[in-house]
Symmetry: C2
Subunit: 124 residues, 2 copies
Amino acid sequence: MLLRRVGDACRQDDGVPMNKFANTPQPPYYAVIFTTVKSENQAGYEEMNARMFELAQKQKGYLGIESARGEIGLSVTYWETLDDIANWRNHAEHLLAQAEGYSTWYQAFATRVCRVERDNFYQK
Amino acid sequence: MLLRRVGDACRQDDGVPMNKFANTPQPPYYAVIFTTVKSENQAGYEEMNARMFELAQKQKGYLGIESARGEIGLSVTYWETLDDIANWRNHAEHLLAQAEGYSTWYQAFATRVCRVERDNFYQK
């Protein structure tokens, strides 16, 4: 069994596929797990999602995002501190996006704010 | 804007779509965020994944799972305590599955163990 634990090394790795993961620092740091079920009306969603992705990256304390969609959507954003998460949640343009999410795009969602206690990275 | 924060109510809700989310208790509880990039060889993966899903549900402290796959895979399992996570990680049959994951199914992965500090649920 070829087994290589990457640890710190991966954090500086620009290669594939490690760059598909959020480039997070040593714990502790914070994660927001956002789980969604979409409604039928997705008008304007893609543009707003792209805009929020662009905007989030400019926020203080933003560390990265990982997301995937199947029957449900899962997006995890990573942040340096709880204050950074609060600031992003209350960002004026993000509040407008959230309002659209409530009213239009999501049938249901869950948000969970977490402290990342430890992590591990592996790459062949 | 129709806005209904569900809070505790959703936790007992068997309706759609809340049952697509993990039925977690009041925080604090724990989450393991498992982010993956698959390799080309997926022989045996589906059977093992189904078996691990079945087995995890029987473990002490297991609270639920949420998962989706796109360019990357994201699976979040929820647990009552860090000990429950350690017990599952060291479960004999799960160790065999992990070995296959390292050697065969995954090109790269990240695991992050988190303490869920707060959560919120919304349903139309």
